[in-house]
């Protein structure tokens, strides 16, 4: 894997650009927006394809229903709004009008996790992926960088069924080069680094943190495997089980509540197929607060140092159990 040397960009920008690209080649692509197009970046699509852009105002539940109706007529609607509004405000509509009928609706949200920062808890979507995971038929993805977001949007457009893609408000470092776009597959995790002592499974904005943690661990003689679990559902269970059997110790990292998100998903798989010591890094079932995103990560236990500590702790438990 090559790491590109470019200035960080928010993954919501990747969404905006990718939507325009697929909109140019496929007339079935439509966008339904809930009044925040400049923020979600669907404004780009609005500029290029105004006849296929529908702003329904501050009305997310209606947005989901409208998208379901559009999908039922053979078009491919992308709904854009913020994570907390799509997953929670419109939760039942997603379940009933999108997931249950397997409507070909793609819900692409911005402001996932703690990235809304200063806006505060009401706008921080920190339980969204877990909620979407609990609904049958939903595919749930959180790309880690601009390039992977574009790849995910292209893949979602090709996939026949409901998809939830979570983007970030803040700029993210580039981890992938363009060449991954053709190789990207929904549900197939990416092993970014090999290592035999501990497996760090991360998603979205936490993938770069996991890589930094792995470098720090290497400095003290611990070799960490790092897995980019960009698709939370369907989870790549085989890679999780392999990682557990190979390392015997697993840490999960997510900008999300530790309940029902990546940590839970991995815990479920390990408990049923390969029980090994495990630690979950994420929000410890708490709301955060207003503040800059980096400071919130540090305060709420999502810093690189927290990942390093968790890895050491879980390796320690592994050693003691031998």
């Amino acid at each position: 894997m090559k790491v590109a040397n470019r200035a960080p960009i928010a993954t919501r920008d990747g969404f905006g650009q990718a939507l325009c690209e697929i909109g140019a080649t496929d007339e079935r692509i439509v966008c339904v927006e809930a009044d925040i197009s400049k923020s979600t970046r669907s404004c780009l699509f609005a500029q290029h394809f105004p006849s296929r852009f529908f702003n329904v105002g501050v009305a997310e539940q209606n947005a989901i229903g409208v998208a379901a109706g559009i999908a039922s007529c053979g078009l491919i609607p992308f709904v854009s709004t913020y994570a907390v509004f799509a997953s929670m405000r419109a939760c039942e509509q997603v379940r009933t009008t999108v997931a249950y009928p397997r409507a070909n609706v793609k819900i692409c949200v911005s402001h996932g996790g703690l990235t809304p920062g200063n806006d505060g808890v009401t706008h921080q979507g920190t339980e969204d992926m877990g909620l979407m995971r609990t609904i049958p038929n939903m595919v749930v993805i959180m790309p880690c960088d601009f390039t992977q977001m574009r790849a995910a949007v292209f893949a979602a457009a090709k996939y026949d069924g409901p998809v939830y893609i979570r983007g970030t408000r803040d700029a993210m470092p580039h981890l992938y080069d363009e060449e991954i776009t053709d190789r990207y597959t929904i549900g197939r995790a990416i092993r970014l680094k090999d290592g035999g002592d501990v497996a760090i499974v991360a998603i979205g904005d936490m993938v770069s943190h996991a890589l930094r943690a792995a470098r720090e661990l290497a400095g003290s003689g611990l070799e960490a495997m790092v897995i980019d679990m960009h698709t939370l559902k369907p989870l790549d269970e085989n890679i999780v089980v392999q990682a557990a059997l190979q390392t015997g110790a697993v840490v999960t990292v997510e900008d999300h509540n530790i309940l029902n998100g990546l940590g839970s998903a991995v815990a479920e798989v390990l408990a049923e197929r390969a029980p090994v010591p495990m630690r979950r890094i994420g929000l410890r079932d708490t709301f955060a607060e207003s503040g800059p995103y980096p400071a919130l990560l540090a305060k709420y236990g999502l810093a690189v140092a927290d990942i390093v500590d968790a890895a050491r702790a879980v390796v320690g438990r592994k050693e003691r159990s031998k």
Partner: protein
Amino acid sequence: MEQGIRRTIAYAAQMRYDVVRMIENVKSGHPGGSLSCVDILACLYFDVMRICPDEPDWPGRDRFVLSKGHAAPALYAALARRGYFPATELGKLRQIGGILEGHPDHNHTPGVDATTGCLGEGLSIGIGMALAARLDHADYYVYVVLGDGETNEGQIWEAAQVGAHYGLGHLVVFLDLNNLQFDGTLDEVLRPWDLSAKWKTFGWDVQDIDGHDHRQILRAVSKAKNRKNRPHMVICQTTKGKGAPVMENQCAWHSIVNLQQMNDCLPKLAQEIRRYEDILNAADVW
């Protein structure tokens, strides 16, 4: 000018300065929608509302719900100047460890009666409070400020029906009608048609006023209090960004467009405060 109105106008001037200053300071927030409702809040907090800053939880107090929660800076300015907490806290808006969250949080800030921020919910909370007052045979009033784009949300209309059904005469709701939402004008995004007629049809007592004219605001509250058996909707024609010419009537100033431009507004806003130094004796240009 009557002394009462001069007082509310003075505090509105102070609050305008505070709003622009605190958002510029943290480089984050919603200036346009905060400024458009300053006059409504100034009238409520410095004339209308029966409240006690030393006892924020006094059960007999009037309640206030900022349903358009992103206008939190305006509310915080009102609360600070009214004495709920030191004005120095305004400099810590949206900062980690501070008491002023990005959107109003009942558990974080003295004087905030309800946690809001996700549009469409505050009116329902206000209705709950009004029903509680009725149950307790209490005579406090409940005031709510709604955003105009916020009325896109279905929950607003669910709440509207209940308010009228229960004849909540102690509920007074102000609609901050600045005609701009995030993605454009109301007509461009989701045409509202005749808002006045809509609320009347939902069973509310409706008044239409200039939302920056303190005399009209205070008279509207007075009229509302004389009409007992229906909830009250006061539709306030306002200007987004009112008081800061570069922001006025500009959709983009829902959020911050240009920090330097914000900073450039401050001297004139400070100058406006100095006109009322006989009233704003605790005021400061911070």
